[in-house]
Subunit: 111 residues, 2 copies
Amino acid sequence: MTAADQILSQLQALANPVRLWIVAELHRNGAQYVSELARKAGISRPLLKMHLRKLEDTKLVSSEIGTAENGKAANFFQIVPFNLPLTPELIAEARPSPTSLANRKDGDPDA
Amino acid sequence: MTAADQILSQLQALANPVRLWIVAELHRNGAQYVSELARKAGISRPLLKMHLRKLEDTKLVSSEIGTAENGKAANFFQIVPFNLPLTPELIAEARPSPTSLANRKDGDPDA
DNA sequence: CTTTCATGTAAGAAAAATATAACGCAACTG
DNA sequence: CAGTTGCGTTATATTTTTCTTACATGAAAG
């Protein structure tokens, strides 16, 4: 994973209205679980979960099991604080290539 | 165009390997014209032009007519310096909505 | 003039992202 | 134990993005 690939992955993760909203919502109101967020966003739960997965894959949010206000076990997501300053200079320093590997369907390189 | 829509548009413009490379290339080596960039990137000219258009639509690059080293008229593109600090807080302040309007196919709201 | 190299645009194929619907499972509650 | 509400997954449809191919124009140089 090059520096450019990492920037690209994070940009792709954030470049979506639902995911941008999720980041704002989790920042404003703290950790929340999947169904809760899906209801607030007004979209289906599988879809919202897919968006959460993309954010989690790039380490922008993290999850842990907790207990919802109704007693059920629930999967809570929260923001992983990030600071991604975006300038031409920083992008140039990352030396991106026009054919990036960031879109690969491989397994998690961390694992 | 809300603040959130603007952020989203710029993120979408940057969230692509070719376009990230273009930004880096223009920053490093200054203004260049379309065919030149297409050759360097190793992709077709229409495709590269499409990427340039997306960057130009979000005001990340600008273009002007000039003269290539071989004497032909050419369309030179250059970086419009930008600084897009990306943090959960700034995203929250932009108050994004899960159903954004930033993807509309409308005409230029500036015009 | 013909060749070369720049421009633009339009049509359509291919790939990726987005979104819904439909399963089944576990746990808590009345 | 039936009903509700979490969870996850798969299959599929739709939309958007990406990319190639093809065509047509204008200006400079041989």
